[in-house]
Symmetry: C2
Subunit: 313 residues, 2 copies
């Protein structure tokens, strides 16, 4: 049996100890623990990495705490446009959706694109028509309504400002990147990565970030690693960040930890990119580097490691 | 002065000698020559690689012969949905648009995303609203009408079949990938890549191919190369093909020709990908590999090389 492991994230940014109430922090930790333990138990019972990353991301999408699925932020039009991607390392199959509204779990739709279409990437109303053709029902706007998110939008509505998730004010540097993701190595040595986001508050113009772009925000390859990113998406696209980790391992012989650190602390920072990523290799090793103050994150391995954390150390 | 060069492509696929009338072949060669010589003269007069790849792709978009801009194929709804991307190697700036309709030159809109927005990738009606905010006027559907393209669509309309450009019949393997692209190395040693496509006949579901995805169909980096791809887009996305060429050079020390050949003849073929790419490095070297029978292509260098070709040799 291969050593197995899972890692998850719920976004990165200016997360400083003492900024949250203890109750709120406890809520975040509890939701991360739910996703992590559900994923780990599934791995332990022999589920595939693909099943496990879908499951963990679905749990995070169903929480109002993270900017993905139910907790998605408001666009400039007061709607919710979500992106998601999934990839499996065994045969490099992938599926992604972008700019979809009313879909409860965009990660499941991304998986259906991978498994039930001849395409990799569907977007907008077309992607929603694909969902309807499979029998998806659309959630009412009320499902995605959250008072805090709505207030965040009201602060920006009518302006040309937009924010990556919920930074404190439009005057401060956009500093919180709400995206969720999971990577896993299963008992059979197969890897998978899944990522999902609700985008940016007051976003317009049909902006697509790194989340749904294979190679940028999400990538998996059994020859190297599985990666899910969170951060200033434009920089992760320009840096082709997720695939960069894989190439540094495959072509330059770096370890998972070395490759992940090189991308987050050097390659991305050289072009101004903020954020972090989670990554696993086929030996079940895990890396969780970030160049921001904090990242909602967790990992659990069959060799007994278990971490849930928010702040930098 | 740095040696300078340009390469262009107009798609790849089952292009066999004798299938086209001599007149039609002459038309293709003439349009390729127009784009190539305009680009080369611009390089010679000191224009930037970014200006040059924009110009060359614009000329190809304006021709009805290629599946991009004016020559775009019909979607399942009888519309034209186009994708384009541009990237410059100096500081890894990039811009891309997807699923835009009525835009005469999608490559210019992609460039405006790069230069006039804080984003990299805009899609659908949002991208068109961005265009309108910059004063773009939308072309009438008649501008994109072409009798041949329309007939190709009629053959597939109402079915679930779709085709990559205009393969001969829906029974044959989809075998012609109509996309246009240009890569250039300018007098200052800066690189740029631009790619534009009209997608697939009878396409639905808002499918996005590799063209508009930075790292998949288009990439430029002064540390390595500039690349523009054409082929079965889903495979180029899963292979992160354009960035793969760059990584093989940067991390494994391969030459441009070796890296480009490795991606087209090995990495892509291993997962079933058909097509080709054009690439230049900062010494003005050019590679034009393809694994299909032919690729509309051309190159011209300051060291005196000049080629326009369609078929394999």
């Amino acid at each position: 049996m291969n050593p197995f492991s899972i890692a998850i994230h719920g976004g990165a940014g200016t997360l400083l100890k003492g900024q949250m109430t203890p109750e709120k922090e406890e809520n975040y930790r509890k939701t991360l623990e739910n996703a992590l333990s559900a994923g780990f138990e599934a791995l332990n019972s022999g589920k595939s990495a693909t099943d496990v990353v879908s499951l963990a991301v679905q749990i995070l999408e169903d929480s109002p705490l993270f900017n993905a699925g139910k907790g998605s932020v408001f666009t400039a039009e007061g709607t919710h446009e979500m992106d998601a991607a999934i990839m499996e390392g065994k045969d490099l199959q992938a599926g992604a959706v972008s700019l979809v509204s009313g879909i409860k779990n965009p990660i499941l739709l991304a998986r259906d694109v991978m498994e039930k279409s001849e395409h990799v990437f569907l977007a907008g109303t077309g992607a929603m028509n694909f969902a309807k053709s499979l029998g998806y029902t659309l959630e009412e706007a009320a499902y995605f309504y959250d008072e805090l998110r709505y207030q965040q939008w009201q602060e920006l509505k009518g302006t040309t400002h937009f924010q990556l998730d919920h930074s404190k004010s439009k005057e401060t540097k956009e500093s919180k990147f709400g995206t969720v993701g999971a990577v896993a190595c299963d008992k059979y040595g197969n890897l998978a990565a899944a990522t999902s986001t609700g985008g940016m508050t007051n976003k317009n113009w049909g902006r697509i970030g790194d989340t749904s772009i294979i190679g940028a925000g999400n990538y998996a390859n059994n020859a190297t690693c599985a990666v899910s990113c969170t951060g200033s998406g434009e920089f992760f696209i320009r840096g082709v960040a997720a695939y960069d980790v894989s190439c540094l391992m495959e072509y330059k012989g770096l370890s998972l930890a070395e490759a992940a650190a090189e991308v987050v602390h050097k390659r991305l920072m050289n072009i101004g990119g903020d954020g972090g990523l989670i990554a696993v290799d086929t030996q079940g090793n895990v890396a969780l580097p970030f160049n921001t103050e904090g990242m909602y994150r967790g990992l659990r391995t069959s060799t007994g490691k278990s971490i849930i954390a928010i702040y930098g150390d």
